[in-house]
């Protein structure tokens, strides 16, 4: 009955629910043979993910995000969930000493990472810089105020957040079931499987210019990947990665093409991966210092 | 070079003063403050007993908590 929105497939020892959201293939792996339960959990995860997408996508014109981004310097009303996300983004901004900045999305209009040599002029970049700077944003529990030329973009945390929210719903509804939420490689396992065996999950891993599929084993916790080997610019032999430094408006130099991190929560893993990319050449040493498991592709 | 150091020092001092506006810690830095013995009302019974002793023996009471009322203690 809900076949258009998601599908359910029974495997040997688990059930897979599938749908597409946030421009990614989404998978729910459930350690059960109960199709009704699997259907229900997938439906829950699907609607939660769609809810988050509808609310925070910056490509929609009549959602909360549009309301904030078109507020023209006036305070925009926010809810409690948005406040929590803003606080999280604020923490990330401080932890990265300003390098993780959810107002830096405006740079995307100048930088199009399509593999071409289309480097924007310094004037173009400079013109956009005035719209960047999280420290200029004022927010409290009730509202947020952006300057006129500023925009917010939850793109850096939205998918990971949706993974964690979906996982939270699943563990709330089925507290004793091991469930994997996998949204295009951003993964959360709610709890270990009954036989303590790891889940084998296929993720697309970037190797040079061709996509290969790797099987990843994960027992519990979160996993996320940042970086994309196919998104770059190439000019005069120099490769420009798509990780932009909000302080300069230019790509971070010498950063890995992609970083995968394992952490207790998907969003935590995602942020660690992103923050490491922002470290450029120091990405590996940064990751080492965090005492976590990670995979770096240069 | 020396002058630069001095300017830096002045700057650091200034930053430190300006920092008063953001006194405090982030939620995840509360590990030490969250300890039981760091609570202002830790050892509540000791403090209450002391307040009672000194209330009875000295002319001043209160400060930490309300001063008034109490007892006809001598």
């Amino acid at each position: 009955m809900e076949s258009e929105s998601f599908s359910i497939v029974q495997q040997n020892d688990h059930i897979v629910g599938r749908f597409t959201a946030m421009a990614s293939p989404c998978e729910i792996l459930l350690e059960t043979q109960d199709l009704i339960l699997a259907n229900h959990l997938t439906s829950l995860a699907y609607s939660e993910t769609k809810r988050i997408e509808q609310k925070f996508s910056r490509y929609l014109s009549n959602n909360l995000m549009a309301n904030i981004n078109h507020s023209e310097g006036q305070p925009a009303v926010i809810d409690e969930e948005t406040f929590r996300l803003l606080q999280f983004a604020d923490s990330c901004f401080e932890l990265s000493e300003g390098q993780f900045d959810i107002t830096s999305g405006v740079l995307r209009s100048a930088w199009k990472f399509d593999g071409s040599d289309n480097i924007p002029t310094s004037e173009t970049v400079k013109a956009l810089m005035s719209g960047i700077g999280w420290h200029k944003v004022k927010f409290d529990k009730k509202s947020i105020t952006l300057a006129k030329d500023m925009e917010l973009d939850f793109g850096g945390i939205g998918k990971e957040y949706a993974v964690d929210c979906a996982a939270k719903l699943c563990s709330k509804y089925a507290p004793n079931l091991s469930v994997v939420i996998n949204f295009g490689g951003d993964i959360q396992v709610t709890q270990p499987r009954k036989n303590k065996q790891p889940w084998n999950i296929a993720i697309e891993s970037p190797e040079a210019n061709k996509a290969t599929t790797k099987i990843l084993q994960i027992v519990s916790g979160g996993l996320a990947t940042s970086g994309d080997a196919r998104r770059f610019l190439l000019k005069n032999g120099k490769r420009y990665s798509h990780i932009l430094n909000p302080k300069t408006g230019y790509p971070i130099e010498n950063s890995p093409r992609s970083v995968t991190v394992a952490a207790p929560h998907c969003i935590q893993a995602g942020l660690l991966a992103t923050l490491s990319l922002l470290q450029g050449a120091n990405a590996e040493s940064f990751l080492h210092q965090q005492g976590i498991k990670f995979w770096c592709y240069r | 070079m020396l002058k630069k150091v001095r300017i830096m020092l002045v700057f650091i001092l200034f930053a430190y003063l300006a920092g008063c506006a953001n006194l405090g810690v982030k939620p995840w830095e509360r590990d030490l403050l969250a300890k039981d013995e760091m609570a202002l009302d830790a050892e509540g019974n000791d403090l209450g007993l002391d307040d009672h002793i000194y209330f009875s023996k000295e002319a001043t009471s209160g400060g930490r908590a309300f001063a008034g009322g109490g007892c006809g203690c001598n």
């Binding site: 932890l95 952490a263 | 810690v25 982030k26 509540g44 002319a59 009322g69």
Partner: protein, 440 residues
């Protein structure tokens, strides 16, 4: 330039190491870890203590405390306290010592006691039992405030105190700043045995001058008011608590207290001496019926690597002209994961009340108010103590405290005529405080 970049680098390295744990906490805040972790049923936290307070040759008190606290969820907290204490022994009457023996009538009018020459006049009939009950309820109010309301009840044989209090607190700046305001209203009633003495009435001492017991009783009753009297107190308190950094926390309180009613101590007298310093008579003291007090309290707590430093200072002043300074410090050193020692030091200094007089001079006009209670005179006091605490494997905790408290009253500039010069009018009071606590 070299220097700047160097320092930036070191700063960065230092920050980097914290990122993962910081992110973990931020993640918990974002995802609401409370709903992931099964809510734990909160239990009653009980604290009990037994305290012994013993002054050399004077008062002995034993005080038992039982307090309990429970969080009923969402920061709805109830706390209750029961205190029972007994007091026995002798207390200074306010009369000056004399070279010769003195005879005093007991406050009840029934019987007399004799004080030897050179001794401090102490009334040894003190015996009292007091029961105190407290209940307090605290909960979040509106969006971001906390409200608290409580009642306080204290009853002893001749004294009753009932108080209600309410306060509001609000957190700012990610709970790094808390401001609070509170009010307490106390209603005290006093009904001393033998009645309240008439102000400045002379102590009736039966030295055979009365024809019979009835004549004595008539004379005694003439110095007494039979009905009870009361005192009402309004307390206001404003506080700011500020987290300074990861290790330090500060609190500032301003307290205003105004009381109206009977402030006199019905058991205290003043000696009226002649110009030779010899006591001619004893009169009952009288204090103003109003008192307004201000206190300024500052406390700071600092988390050491293995312990806590707790230092406070209080300045208090009032319209009786009593100004006082108090410094209190507790330094906790964790010896192991489960044991600690905590030295305690307290210093206190107060000036004399404007109506304080160690004695009155014969022939001079009676003042409007007067008291010879040394507790209203000039004095310094100090406390030194040590506490040892140990946590049992069950999580329950035992603690032992032993302290020494000494009060040193001072002459606030009064001339001492004749024989008084040879006598100690400002004897020190020495006390030992011992306490056992058990928390479970």
């Amino acid at each position: 330039m070299q220097l700047t970049s160097q320092s930036n680098l070191t700063k960065q390295t230092k920050k980097i190491t914290n990122v993962n744990s910081a992110l973990a906490a931020a993640t918990c805040a974002l995802l609401g870890s409370a709903s992931v972790v099964q809510a734990e049923e909160s239990v009653w936290e009980m604290d009990t203590a037994l305290l012994y307070y013993g002054e050399t040759d004077r008062v002995t008190a034993v005080e038992g405390v039982f307090s309990a606290k429970k969080d009923f969820g969402d920061e709805h907290v109830f706390s209750g306290k029961l205190v029972l204490d007994t007091l026995t022994g002798a207390s200074a009457t306010g009369a000056v010592s004399q070279p010769n023996a003195q005879t005093f009538t007991r406050p009840s009018g029934k019987g007399q006691y004799e004080i030897n020459g050179g001794d401090v006049p102490l009334d040894d009939t003190f015996k009292d039992t007091r029961l105190q009950l407290e209940a307090q309820w605290t909960q979040p109010l509106w969006d971001d405030m906390r409200g608290s309301a409580g009642v306080h009840f204290s009853k002893e044989y001749d004294y009753l105190s009932v108080a209600v209090n309410g306060s509001l607190a609000r957190d700012f700046n990610q709970k790094n700043t808390t401001i609070s305001a509170g009010v307490s209203l106390a209603f005290d009633t006093i009904d001393p045995e033998g009645g309240r003495p008439v102000a400045f009435s002379e102590m009736v001492v039966n030295q055979g001058q009365f024809a019979n017991d009835q004549a004595y009783q008539v004379a005694f009753d003439a110095t007494r008011q039979k009905d009870s009297d009361d005192k009402n107190t309004i307390d206001l308190m404003f506080g700011v608590t500020q987290v300074i950094n990861r290790r330090m926390l500060m609190q500032f309180n301003y307290g205003y207290s105004t009381s109206d009613g009977y402030h006199t101590d019905p058991f205290k007298v003043l000696s009226i001496v002649n110009d030779q310093g010899v006591t001619q008579s004893l009169v009952h003291e009288d204090r103003p019926t109003e008192r307004t007090r201000h206190s300024f309290y500052w406390q700071t707590k600092y988390a050491l690597d293995s312990g806590v430093a707790d230092i406070s200072y209080r300045y208090a002043t009032d319209d009786w002209d009593i100004n006082s300074h108090t410094i209190d410090s507790r330094l906790r050193f964790n010896i192991s994961d489960n044991t600690y020692i905590q030295p305690h030091f307290r210093y206190y200094q107060q000036g004399a009340a404007e109506f304080y007089q160690p004695f009155l001079m014969e022939g001079s006009m009676l003042p409007t108010f007067a008291s010879a209670d040394y507790r209203l005179g000039e004095m310094t006091a100090y406390t030194v103590g040590l506490k040892y605490g140990m946590k049992m494997p069950s999580g329950n905790e035992w603690a032992f405290r032993l302290e020494y408290y000494q009060q040193d009253p001072k002459n606030a500039g009064f001339d001492e005529p004749g024989v008084l010069q040879q006598l100690d009018l400002y004897p020190s009071v020495k006390a030992v405080i011992a306490q056992i606590s058990y928390s479970f």
